[in-house]
Symmetry: C2
Subunit: 344 residues, 2 copies
């Protein structure tokens, strides 16, 4: 008669545990959550049964009854090769330490205008971490107005709102970096590999670059700007094109380390040396930068710490127990070989 079984054998529930231990489900719940005192005798009896049955409370039931998901959402446009893995590492660790799960959604690209359903929000998380280009402002605002805790990372709050942000100091460091190229090495023709246009970090880095040029009386030359888009390939191709077109430059400021990798590869493939013929500098101090040949001069960004801080901010917001501020992380110049300096 029972040839049509339910697909999955019904899991053991809190009721099974309670029955087997001879207590009420309330008591089981209490030992599970340590939410109220329980006689040590009952407690150990319940724990024994839990072990014996291999019982794990269902997250969905818990979330529904408890009105919280214990889950943090992570909205990114993309998981690139070097920067985001470290960012995620920081986020993941902070989340886990505080007993939160991580729901990740790589949203970006297919946000083709109309009715995209955003898979992360108030319906399945207690709060979200929003990275650049992952969510339209409109949706961010909606989440925020719906009282869902939101922390923005690497991007400012939409105009008029006070959503907490965790950002990076880009401008001064970029300026210092270019100052170094000009003042120490005497470069005057410094090419610039820009990042994605809607990326605030990238834009700020460009401002710093332009400020430094201006301060040294060097006019900005549009021919020396190309889109590296934080990508190896795009940057490689951009530099290749400059070289083929006979554009003259003695240094390249790559807007992030990834672009720098592409730039170096293009320069060398053209038979030129870094930094002897053309210097290359990057931004981020992502882990690979010290293993490039030559080791990359760049700006250190505390990537993991940013991920961790953003997550802790979000958790504070969720738990409502600490005032939450925006935070800008300091950065610092890291001089290695690729700018022309000889001290490793």
């Amino acid at each position: 008669m029972s040839h049509l079984q339910t697909k999955r054998s019904s899991r053991t529930t809190i009721t099974d545990v309670a029955r087997q231990a001879g207590v009420s489900i309330s008591t089981v719940s209490r030992v599970l959550n340590q939410s109220a005192p329980v006689t040590s005798e009952l407690e150990s009896r319940v724990k024994a049964v839990i072990d014996e049955l291999g019982y794990r409370p269902q997250t969905a039931a818990r979330a529904l009854a408890g009105r919280k998901t214990d889950t943090i959402g992570l909205l990114l446009s993309e998981i690139g090769p070097d920067f985001y893995p470290f960012m995620i590492r920081g986020i993941e660790a902070a989340a886990r330490e505080n007993q939160f799960n991580l729901l990740i959604n790589v949203a970006g690209k297919d946000t083709t205008g109309n009715g995209v359903s955003f898979t992360l929000g108030e319906h399945n998380t207690d709060g979200v971490l929003v990275f650049p280009s992952s969510l339209p402002d409109k949706e961010i605002i909606r989440l925020h107005k719906n009282d869902l805790p939101v922390v923005l990372v690497q991007r400012p709050s939409p105009a008029g709102l006070q959503i907490p942000c965790v950002t990076i100091e880009n401008r001064c460091s970029a300026r210092n970096l270019i100052d170094h190229l000009i003042e120490v090495h005497g470069y005057r023709r410094i090419a610039f590999l820009a990042g994605p246009e809607d990326h605030e970090d990238a834009n700020q880095r460009e401002f710093g670059y332009r400020e430094s040029l201006a301060a040294h009386g060097i006019p900005f030359d549009p021919k020396l700007k190309a889109n590296g888009r934080f990508k190896w390939q795009a940057s490689h191709e951009a530099v290749e094109a400059w070289l083929q077109d006979g554009v003259e430059f003695d240094a390249i400021f790559a807007c992030d380390d990834q672009s720098a990798v592409g730039a170096i590869s293009a320069v060398r493939q053209a038979g030129l040396s870094v930094p002897e013929d053309i210097a290359v500098v990057g931004f981020d101090d992502s882990e690979i930068s010290r293993y490039l040949s030559p080791p990359l001069t760049t700006v250190r960004v505390p990537i993991m710490e940013i991920g961790r801080a953003a997550t802790l901010q979000l958790i504070n917001l969720i738990q409502g127990n600490v005032p939450v501020f925006s935070k800008e992380f300091a950065t610092e110049l890291v001089i290695r070989r690729s700018c022309g300096c000889s001290n490793v």
Copy 2:
């Protein structure tokens, strides 16, 4: 009197929608899930209200009532810099295309023996993708015996069980790669940077290496083996140590591309050239390999496709509509400059 408000204003529920649209919650549920025919008039009325109220069905309630979470769990020991981002990209895309959420847990390291609570399992997912070193066999077996769909990636099934696996062909490719070094370039002293000891891919690659040596009558020299552990730093240091100790070798087989990056960096930092003084080859063909200087000779592993395939396998298992098999992905030699070949 109401100075003690509930923290979050109660969200709009299916009941609100039903009331406002003048229908039952059953009807709302039906248009939401398209699970049964609804008059187009009611349908549009309900849809309008959903839009107006900004209603999003709560995932927890849905999961509890529907007995499924629509969520896939991803268990990794670590998110490294280049390989896993692409793997995750494939997984994420496949999951999203099939309306599954992705819950990620980086388990590994703190599995310090005793009572670690595994945060991913039957209580919050419909199935899990398990990567090497992320979960003890014991827990994998428990999940499997509890009827939770499991797909193993880059690792074989625990002895005696038939858990579906998605793996990579490592041995032949490694052997072909070493054959190339020996037969084409005449190298005889080929150093080996091993991967993590418990990593099946790494072990298979070592077998291939040893097979090739043996086939050419070259004895395996333990002094030429060191632990690169798939890491830049460890590999850099290992090669540095060889060089300082005066160990002689004319080529390095780095067990993955990351180790190759560290190896190249150490060789060059010692003032030697790749491949003129020492050739270096890797494994994975991760995206960076073609942007290294010189471009890296390696073995192409279809990383994204593996992620996608594993995810589709898992979804098939979850939906129970297609037989699921284990699958081994083919790999192929990618000859670039770093082995000594001149054709880019």
